[in-house]
C-alpha cells in the first residue's frame, strides 16, 4: 500500500517534480495550449464559421457515425468473445486470448493496408463480397470495418476481468431459487456486465474518433462522403491553413476530452456496488 511519505524522508521530490512538470509542459501542455491559442486567434465568429462549414460538419458526422457504429459492433463481438474466453475451456483458448491484443500492437498503417487489399474486388474477401454488393474498400463501410478491427480489444478486455470475478455461487444461488439459465443470465449476469460493456464501448469509440493511419488507406477520402475529421485537418495543413486546422483540431480535442470524462464517470459508476 502506498503511503504518503514525508518529502524529507525519501529523496528526490524536487528533482522529479521539476523534471516531470518541465517534461509535461514542454511536450504536452505548451503544444496543446499553442493549438488552442492558434485557434483562438481566429476570433469567436471566425472560429465558428471555420469549424462549422458544411464540409467540416460532414466530417464530424462521418467521424462520429463510423466510430459509433464500429463501437456498437465491437460491443457485441467483444461480449461474445469475452464470455467464451472466460467461461469455456477449449483448444487454443490461450492463443485466441493472445490474438485479441493484435489490433493494439499492430501499426495502424499495416491495418489500413491489409484491410484495403482484402476488400478490393480482387482481394481475398472482396472477391466474394463485391459481387453481392458489399464494397468494403473506398467506402464508408470500409472505414467502419477497419475501425472495428482497431477497436476490437477494448470491450473484450474490459468485460473479461468482470466476468472472471463473478462468483459461481451467485449463479448456483439463482438456480436454486428457481431461475432458468435464461433468467439467471438476464437478471443476475447481464446487470453486472452492463458497466464494463459501456466502458469498453466508450473506449472503442474514443479510439475511433482519432484514428487516422488505418482509415486513409481504406477510405477514398472524398469530401462530404468519406472524409473523416483528422483527414480534414491534414488537408487544411497541406493548404497552409494553420488556423483553420487548429480550429478543427480544437473541436476534436473537445470531443475526446468529453469522452475521457465520461469514461472516468463510467468507471466510477461500475464500482458503485463493489
Amino acid at each position: 500500500m502506498s503511503v504518503g511519505v514525508s518529502r524529507r524522508v525519501l529523496p528526490g521530490f524536487s528533482l522529479t517534480l521539476g523534471y516531470v512538470v518541465f517534461y509535461l509542459s514542454a511536450l504536452v501542455l505548451i503544444p496543446l495550449i499553442a493549438c488552442v491559442l492558434k485557434a483562438a486567434s481566429l476570433g469567436w465568429d471566425d472560429f465558428w464559421s471555420v469549424v462549422w462549414t458544411p464540409r467540416a460538419r460532414a466530417a464530424y458526422a462521418l467521424t462520429f457515425g463510423v466510430s459509433f457504429v464500429a463501437a456498437i459492433v465491437n460491443s457485441v463481438l467483444g461480449l461474445i468473445v469475452a464470455w467464451t474466453l472466460v467461461r469455456y475451456d477449449f483448444p487454443f483458448r490461450r492463443l485466441v486470448d493472445a490474438l485479441v491484443d493484435v489490433p493494439l500492437a499492430l501499426p495502424t498503417a499495416v491495418a489500413g493496408l491489409v484491410y484495403a487489399s482484402l476488400y478490393v474486388p480482387n482481394g481475398w474477401l472482396g472477391q466474394f463480397l463485391v459481387p453481392i454488393g458489399i464494397e468494403g474498400a473506398y467506402s464508408r463501410l470500409g472505414i467502419v470495418l477497419v475501425l472495428i478491427f482497431t477497436g476490437f480489444p477494448f470491450v473484450v478486455r474490459t468485460v473479461q476481468p468482470v466476468l472472471a470475478e463473478l462468483d459461481v455461487e451467485t449463479e448456483e444461488a439463482a438456480a436454486i431459487l428457481g431461475a432458468t439459465p435464461g433468467q439467471t443470465f438476464r437478471r443476475v449476469l447481464l446487470p453486472a456486465l452492463v458497466p464494463p460493456v459501456l466502458t469498453g464501448f466508450a473506449l472503442a469509440f474514443a479510439r475511433g474518433l482519432g484514428e487516422y493511419g488505418s482509415v486513409i488507406f481504406i477510405s477514398s477520402n472524398i469530401q462530404f462522403e468519406t472524409e473523416i475529421a483528422p483527414v480534414l485537418i491534414v488537408s487544411q495543413l497541406e493548404a497552409f491553413a494553420y488556423r483553420e486546422a487548429a480550429a478543427i483540431a480544437v473541436m476534436l480535442l473537445a470531443m475526446s476530452f468529453t469522452l475521457l470524462v465520461v469514461i472516468n464517470l463510467l468507471e466510477r459508476w461500475s464500482q458503485r456496488h463493489a
Binding site: D167, T170, I176, T180
Partner: protein, 352 residues
C-alpha cells in the same frame, strides 16, 4: 419433510468424497454435518441440493425421490458461506428474487418479502445494497432469501464461516431460535464442533467420506462410536495399553472395560477426557500416574493443567473445576498424581 439419503457415493477422479452414506434427517429437525475438511460433508450437502450428482444412491424428500431432479425444481433453500447475494440488487430485490422468477404478483411479493425481512430484523435496510451491509447482516439477508419461497428443506454450507467470532456466536443462537419458531427441516455443514452442538438436534460426524456416528450431541459426546469421533470432539488424552481379562491396562492403571469379562487382545488405546481426570497430592486408591505440573492456565470455569509424566514421556492435560484447583493449590513444578474417573477404550478397529 424429512430428508432420506441412502447409499450415496461420490468420487472425483481418484478421490473418493463419499462412500455409501445413509442418513435420515427427521422432519423439522436441524441436523449438523460435522467433520474436518475433506470429510465429504460439503459434497453431501451439495448432492442434496442438486449442485452435484451422486454416482449412486438416492436422495428423497419425504417420499419423493429427487435424486435426478435439477436444483431449480427441488424447492429448497440454500445459504452459502460467502452469502452469494446479488450485488447489484437491493436487499428487497435479493429476497424477492425467488418469488419474481416464479412470477408472483407484485403485491404478494411485497407482503412476503417484508414479512421475511422483519423476521430477520432487517426491514429498515430493505433498500440498501449488499455492499453497504455487514457480514452478519448479509448472511441474514441470504437466509431470508432462501426462506422466501417456503422451501421444504433448508441447506446451509458453513453459513457462519466467513464471520468473526462474536458475530458467529450471536448468529448461531439466532438461527436456533429461528428454527424453534419455524421448524423447516434443516441440514447444515460445519467444521466447528461447538457450533454443531449448540445449534443442532442431531449431529452426523463425518470422516473421509463416511458417517462415523449419527446421534444427538449428548450421545455423540458421551458415547462416541469410534476413536475418530472421540478425538475430533474436544481435547483428549490418549494412552497406549493392552486389554487383558476384560480390563485395560495402561502401565499400572487398570480401567474397567465394558464388554465380556474374558476379553483379551493386544494393543488398545485408552482415551480419557481432560475433565475426566482428577488430581490428588497423594497417590489414590487404584493406580494413578505420577506427573509433574508444567503449566497452569485459568480458562473460564476450569483450570487447564498441563503435566508431564515423571519419566518425561507423556504429556497429560487435565481440566480441573476452579473450586478443586483452589482446594489443591497446586503450582507449576509440583509433583502430583493423576487418576482417571472414566475412560473410553478402543481397539484399532472397533470400540469396546
Amino acid at each position: 419433510m424429512s430428508i432420506v439419503i441412502q447409499n450415496v457415493s461420490k468420487r472425483f477422479g481418484s478421490f473418493t468424497a463419499l462412500q455409501d452414506v445413509s442418513i435420515k434427517v427427521p422432519e423439522g429437525e436441524l441436523v449438523a454435518l460435522l467433520g474436518p475438511s475433506g470429510s465429504g460433508k460439503t459434497t453431501l450437502l451439495r448432492i442434496v441440493a442438486g449442485l452435484e450428482a451422486a454416482d449412486c444412491g438416492t436422495v428423497q424428500f419425504g417420499t419423493d425421490d429427487i435424486t435426478n431432479q435439477n436444483p431449480r425444481d427441488r424447492n429448497i433453500g440454500f445459504v452459502f458461506q460467502h452469502y452469494a447475494l446479488f450485488r447489484h440488487m437491493t436487499v428487497f430485490e435479493n429476497v424477492a428474487f425467488g418469488l419474481r422468477v416464479r412470477k408472483w404478483a407484485n403485491a404478494d411479493v411485497q407482503a412476503r418479502v417484508m414479512e421475511l425481512l422483519s423476521l430477520v430484523k432487517l426491514d429498515i435496510l430493505a433498500q440498501r445494497y449488499p455492499s453497504q451491509l455487514s457480514g452478519g447482516q448479509r448472511q441474514r439477508v441470504a437466509l431470508a432469501r432462501a426462506l422466501a419461497s417456503s422451501p421444504r428443506v433448508l441447506l446451509l454450507d458453513e453459513p457462519f464461516g466467513a464471520l468473526d467470532a462474536k458475530v458467529r456466536a450471536e448468529l448461531r443462537q439466532w438461527l436456533r431460535r429461528l428454527h424453534d419458531e419455524y421448524p423447516v427441516t434443516t441440514l447444515f455443514v460445519t467444521h466447528d464442533q461447538e457450533e454443531a452442538f449448540e445449534v443442532s438436534d442431531r449431529v452426523a460426524v463425518m470422516n473421509a467420506g463416511k458417517v462415523e456416528q449419527f446421534d444427538t450431541p449428548d450421545a455423540v459426546f458421551e458415547s462416541p462410536a469410534s476413536a475418530f469421533v472421540l478425538d475430533f470432539l474436544g481435547n483428549v488424552n490418549v494412552f497406549h495399553g493392552r486389554v487383558q481379562d476384560g480390563k485395560a491396562h495402561v502401565g499400572e492403571i487398570v480401567f474397567d472395560c465394558p464388554g465380556p469379562e474374558n476379553q483379551t487382545f493386544g494393543a488398545a488405546k485408552v482415551y480419557v477426557r481432560p475433565h475426566d481426570l482428577d488430581i490428588s497430592v497423594e497417590p489414590s486408591e487404584g493406580a494413578s500416574l505420577q506427573v509433574r505440573v508444567t503449566h497452569l492456565r485459568p480458562a473460564g470455569s476450569v483450570t487447564r493443567v498441563v503435566a508431564v509424566s515423571i519419566d518425561g514421556q507423556k504429556e497429560i492435560r487435565v481440566d480441573l473445576p476452579i473450586g478443586r484447583s483452589r482446594e489443591l493449590a497446586i503450582r507449576k513444578g509440583d509433583v502430583v498424581f493423576v487418576h482417571p474417573r472414566r475412560a473410553h477404550v478402543f481397539a484399532p478397529d472397533y470400540a469396546i
